[in-house]
Amino acid sequence: MSHKILAKDKLDAFLQGLCRDQDLFAPVMKDGKVGWAPVTTAAEALWEFSNSELSPKDFFFPQTECMMRFKNVQGDPQGMIMQAEPALNKPRVLLNIRPCDAKAFQVLDMIFVQDEMTNDLYWRDKREKTTLIGLACNDPCPTCFCTTVGSNPHGTTGLDVLLTDIGDKLVAESFTAKGEALLKELPEVTRQDLFQAGELKKAAEAKITSGVAVDKINAATVMELYDAPLWDRVMESCLNCGTCTFCCPTCHCFDIQDETQGEAGRRVRNWDYCMSWLFTMHGTGHNPRGTKKDRVRQRFMHKFKYIPVKRGGEIGCVGCGRCVQLCPVNIDVRKVVNDMNA
């Protein structure tokens, strides 16, 4: 759509505009860690950083989310009523989101909002009310491998606006009507600026030296991959903890529980993780993924085989590298996928 220029000394004014009727969030440095927080000025937000330690998926899919409340009293006028939780009351803007994370939301859209039956209103409500202003990665990390899984440090998928830092100013490109509206007041970009942004993109892509190959995975059958011998080694050191899952921008499994307190209660969904034996435990006592190996395999198979098979080749990984960074036993997804692809 349009390309505009956002001078760094105009940032505060721009942010002020964003804040007017919306909640504005951006990555900030907190206790030595990059995390998301509400901001109102440019100084509060980070402009040079690799990425937030955890994915911002909880803006749309909170780790703990109340779905409804209920009261189980017959004969009480307030009883036997299930009360929906209020929708998001104010639109919001996520500023400086990385392209990989934005791409992840689009992957999740395919899962949360599929058709009339599979149409997660909790996810959808927040997605519809949120504007995503991306910040292109000029300095990808050694653990980044977005370019090998269909994303890009300067990727635009899922974004309303992409900002590219070209020094004392930012190139702002809009991709949606929402984005277009935001940039309306900004001056037009120059060709030089555009060129510079393009060069930065190339440089960033070049910095991504590691990656995964999935061609053989795509060619193999599910059962071939499932029965491949590599899993015995992959699972050895795995703790079956939830770190990879919880930091991952595309992991989206949840567990729904009713929490009651006397006669009242709430239905709540919490992140769940396929590494846990409890995840697949049946009420009968049978567990279809009874071993550590089953569970370790599931996560990789899901992202790199099951999703692609079901979603027209889309990979369930955006290459952000968080799991590589955080896994307590250094199970490196790149190595695992490349072994799968061997």
């Binding site: 009651t260 307190q261 006397g262 006592g285």
Partner: protein, 1011 residues
């Protein structure tokens, strides 16, 4: 029902005459050991005097509350036939085969049809004095004896019934919804064939009406102790509100006068001490103070405080601390003031005349034998003592002069409840022991109601809210609790009962469970500690697994303790019911493991008690191992001369030891210690360490009769002068002839040497009698001997009082001393001198003694290792602690272990022997069964969760958990006692405790806090 028995075989039935607690206990023991019991009660319901008491000393347990489960157990026991309103007319035949003729009065209300709704009583126009409440209020001519009566069936009192007296009325017949009134009934003559008879007809409270100076019959506010019990009782005429009968005002000041009808040959021919009055007066005074709103002033006028039983002295001291005043004086007259208060005139100890006014006077009436009972005994050929109590020997304390006829309880001499219960078990033992050949011949196996399978059913909880008369309903809004319970999830049925524990309610509950298809039961009433088994029986009767039950304690822990906050108490009751319903809904049927019982016994201790227990066990056919750490048998009795009745102890002991040595079923292990005990009821494995090395004995039950020791005094020059000796030393010296009375010119006895002191705050019970008996011996053999006894209270309880009287008549001088001015003993030029303050003379006296006998305390062995090996407790003085002070005096909380003799508490020979017999009776309730069922409340371990870390089997106090071949924990239900320590120790959540599971407790927490 008559059973013809062959000439040789005894009849396997026993008749128990009387319906009090002694009769009930004797009946239950006999019924549990395979005999058919006819329980013959004169009045329309069993329960006796204990049912009329408010509380029982020294624990102040609610009398009715602890008795009621026994009543119900008796009422529903398949081997007990209760014959009410029945009296024995004659007994013919001989031991093993008696024919008893009985007369049973017509009840005029059908036992089968009466539903105890009370409509007849409500309609009945005739009011008469209610004898249960000692005439303090009225009942009707159609009536039930008391609310918890067994059988809970109404009766028509013919003598007062208008129809019977005037020929018309029949109001009851018209109103009765069950058609139960049967005026056509006639008295019946019965003849029963039994092998033995136990007479347990009890006592009659002395009627002080003839006692002119106390004006009991003239002054409304002079009441007897039993009347006062009814006044205090929550089910009494004033529902437990402390008022005086004259004007129903709350008294502020009450006097108890002791020894009314006891120790008295002027006003009545009762030279004996009634044994129980001191303690009940203390109890009444303390309870009255608690009932009172304005800080009651309670005073007890006494002659000697006789608090000689286990924990009695502590109760006495406790009462002093609580402000009960004790005045040593006999009040000589009472006069009534215009406001109906009473003026007491008495002399103080110092001889000073005093006048003091009280709002109310309680006469601590003694116990006496009802002349009708005395007549019955004579008719039956049972000899009475001069006191009219049944005569029995010290060595056969429950045998009467007629073979095959036994006696127990207060009829055999005035005594308290535990001693009565103990004697009842002893009588059951003695009676049953003669009928061993016929054990089980007349009883049918208990009918087991098939258990309904509730698997897959949603909880259908029945909630029964008890009013407990007014005990609960007087504070808690029972109706509101009931209505609330109905709203709780899973509750299918709700009901309120006046007394949920009464037998008719229990029967009805069983019916309701069946009719309504209930599968979980909650009773909101009293404590599970007392009543859970009772209600569980009802569940069983209704075909429901007994573990599908919970009790909400809305009385002991609610209405009684929040009497002034009815609203909050009601809220609490609701919460407790909600918690119980939540737990009950989760409960699952539990199965009980079956245990085989090894019919062998072990008796530990070879003294008099142990020997008696062992010989009685072998007589009943059980192989018995006797373990004695000494090289010879006999224990303390080896040093005793005579009993209080003058019987020769040494001759008896020799005979007993000879019998023991000749008994083929008795294995003696002398000079042997117990090294290790494992196992459990029916299956103990005890390792003995004897001269021949270690030996493992397997046995089904054990009797601990390890005795006690005479304390070696450290005071009064003991050990420094040979003339100073203890009782046992004196007896031994007299036995050997080392000392002869003729050589004693001056003898001094000092009582309470080491007893009733802060360090040993109990009375050693036997020393006063021993002293008196020795004093008499000296005097009888040497009338010139000057005998002086320094004492604090003479505690010659019961018929021992006659010895005290005799000693005084023989000229023995009794001088009282205070704990803070003990006699002084000194040696001057080889003369042994005793100086003391004479409180009557008010000056110091000095006596020279050739013999100074110290009544030294009896001290426990404090045998902690034995206690630990058998998993039984000791009390703070080191005595073995019984399962229940009142009603399970020889049982331990640990199944299969029993006690007898001095190991329990100091006691005279006849009590020790009775206790030995009682312990046998209780042990035989186990040994006579081939199998028994264990509690379902046991731990189990989920093998899927167990990681085999070993914490549980390391800490299990019963070694009930061990690793299996995979290294995972497995719990043995037969060893598990259900403490749950393993459950709380496990990090993995593998063990759980049935009946107290994590889920159950969690449900209670949630229901408690989130209701």
């Amino acid at each position: 029902m008559t059973t013809k028995a062959r000439q040789q075989d005894p009849v396997g039935a026993v008749m128990v005459v009387g319906g009090g607690v002694a009769a009930i206990q004797a009946s239950l023991d006999l019924a549990d050991t395979g005999y058919l019991v006819y329980l013959v009660e004169k009045t329309p319901a069993i329960g006796g005097a204990m049912s009329q008491l408010d509380k029982t000393f020294p624990t102040n347990d609610c009398s009715m509350c602890i008795l009621s489960p026994k009543l119900v157990e008796c009422g529903r026991h398949p081997n007990i036939q209760i014959l009410t309103q029945a009296e024995v007319q004659s007994i013919e035949g001989q031991a093993g085969d008696f024919r008893v003729k009985l007369k049973q009065q017509a009840r005029y209300i059908s036992l089968e049809k009466c539903i105890a709704c009370g409509a007849c009583a409500e309609k009945c126009p005739k009011k008469v004095d209610d004898e249960f409440n000692r005439g303090l209020n009225k009942r009707k001519a159609a009536y039930v004896k008391y609310p918890q009566a067994v059988p809970l069936k109404y009766t028509i009192d013919k003598d007062n019934c208008i129809y019977f007296q005037k020929g018309k009325c029949k109001a009851c017949e018209k109103i009765c919804p069950a058609g139960a009134v049967e005026f056509a009934q006639e008295d019946a003559q019965l003849e029963l064939n039994v092998g033995a008879v136990i007479v347990a007809a009890g006592f009659r409270p002395y009627d002080p009406s003839p006692f002119a100076q106390y004006s009991y019959s003239r002054f409304a506010n002079v009441v007897t102790a039993l009347e006062f019990e009814r006044i205090l009782s929550a089910s009494g005429p004033w529902m437990g509100h402390l008022v005086r009968p004259g004007d129903e005002k709350e008294p502020q000041k009450i006097a108890w006068l002791q020894c009314v009808g006891s120790r008295d040959i002027n006003n009545c021919d009762h030279p004996y001490c009634s044994s129980v009055c001191c303690m009940y007066a203390i109890k009444e005074a303390v309870i009255a103070k608690e009932h009172s709103h304005g800080g009651l002033d309670a005073t007890i006028f006494f002659m000697d405080m006789r608090t000689f039983g286990k924990d009695f002295e502590r109760t006495y001291e406790g009462a002093k601390e609580r402000g009960v005043r004790f005045v040593r004086s006999r009040v000589h007259s009472i006069s009534e003031l215009p406001d109906k208060s009473l003026r007491l005139e008495y002399a103080t100890e110092e001889g000073e005349a005093r006048t003091e006014d009280f709002d109310m006077v309680v006469l601590s009436q003694g116990l006496e034998v009802d002349p009708a009972t005395a007549q019955l005994c004579q008719d039956l050929g049972v000899e009475l003592a001069s006191t009219q109590f049944v005569k029995s020997g010290s060595f056969s304390p429950v045998a009467t002069s007629r073979e095959g006829v036994y006696v127990c309880g207060a009829l055999a001499g005035p005594k308290d409840i535990p001693l009565s219960v103990m004697e009842a078990s002893a009588a059951a033992c003695a009676a049953g022991g003669n009928l061993t050949a016929a054990r089980g011949s007349l009883v049918s196996l208990p009918e087991i109601t098939p258990q309904r399978d509730v698997k897959g059913e949603s909880p259908q909880v029945g909630v029964f809210v008890c009013s407990c008369g007014i005990n609960i309903a007087g504070v808690v809004d029972v109706k509101a609790v009931m209505d609330y319970a109905a709203t709780l999830p899973g509750v299918a049925y709700v009901e309120n009962n006046l007394f949920t524990c009464s037998q008719d309610t229990q029967d009805k509950m069983a019916q309701v469970i069946k009719d309504q298809g209930l599968n979980r039961i909650v009773v909101a009433a009293c404590s599970p500690r007392t009543h859970e088994p009772l209600f569980q029986e009802t569940l069983k009767a209704a075909g429901l697994n007994k573990y599908l039950f919970d009790l909400a304690n809305i009385r002991n822990q609610d209405s009684w303790v929040h009497a002034n906050e009815p609203e909050k108490a009601t809220d609490k009751a609701k919460d407790l019911v909600r918690m119980a319903v939540a737990k009950a809904s989760l409960l699952e049927p539990l199965s009980e493991a079956k245990l085989s019982i090894l019919p062998k016994a072990m008796v530990i201790g070879g003294g008099l008690s142990g020997l008696n227990a062992a010989l009685e066990l072998t007589r009943q056919g059980f192989e018995t191992h006797m373990v004695e750490r000494d090289a010879q048998l006999g224990g303390n009795a080896r040093l005793l001369r005579v009993t209080a009745q003058g019987e020769d102890v040494q001759a008896y002991l020799a005979e007993l030891i000879a019998k023991a040595q000749a008994e083929p079923l008795l294995k003696l292990h002398l000079d042997t210690a117990i090294k290790e005990v494992s196992g459990f009821v029916g299956n103990f494995k005890t390792t003995l360490a004897g001269p021949a090395g270690e030996e493992l004995i397997e046995h089904g039950a054990a009797v601990i009769a390890t005795g006690a020791a005479e304390r070696r005094p450290t005071e009064y020059l003991y050990g420094q002068d040979p003339r100073v000796m203890t009782h046992l030393e004196l007896d031994a010296a007299l036995l050997t002839g080392e000392l002869t009375p003729q050589k004693v010119g001056g003898a001094v006895f000092i009582q309470c040497v080491g007893s009733r002191e802060p360090e040993r705050p109990y009375c050693s019970k036997v020393c006063c009698t021993h002293t008196v008996e020795s004093a008499i011996h000296l005097k009888e053999h040497n009338p010139d001997c000057r005998v002086t006894v320094f004492y604090r209270d003479m505690r010659t309880f019961a018929e021992r009082e006659l010895l005290y009287k005799k000693a005084r008549e023989l000229g023995v001088l009794f001088v009282r001393y205070h704990l803070d001015s003990k006699p002084q003993v000194s040696l001057q030029d080889g003369r042994l001198l005793v100086t003391a303050l004479d409180p009557i003379l008010g000056r110091e006296i000095e006596l020279e003694a050739d013999l100074l006998c110290l009544a030294s305390a009896i001290v426990s062995h404090k045998d902690e290792s034995l206690a630990q090996m058998f998993k039984v407790p000791l009390d703070q003085d080191g005595w073995f602690l019984e399962a229940h002070v009142k009603l399970r005096p020889v049982d331990f909380a640990t199944d299969g272990v029993f006690m007898a003799g001095l190991a329990h508490y100091p006691k005279p020979i006849e009590e020790a022997i009775a206790q030995a017999q009682a312990a046998v009776s209780r042990a035989v309730t186990v040994l006579s069964k081939t199998e028994m069922w264990l509690s379902g409340t046991v731990a189990f371990i989920d093998p899927k969760k167990c990681v085999g870390c070993g914490v549980c089997w390391e800490i299990c106090p019963y070694q009930a958990i061990s690793p299996d071949e995979h290294g995972l924990a497995v719990a043995n239900a037969a060893l598990c006692k259900g403490c749950g320590t393993c459950v709380a120790s496990c990090r993995s959540g593998a063990p759980n405790l049935k009946g107290f599971s994590n889920q159950d407790v969690m449900a209670q927490i949630t229901a408690m806090l989130q209701g």
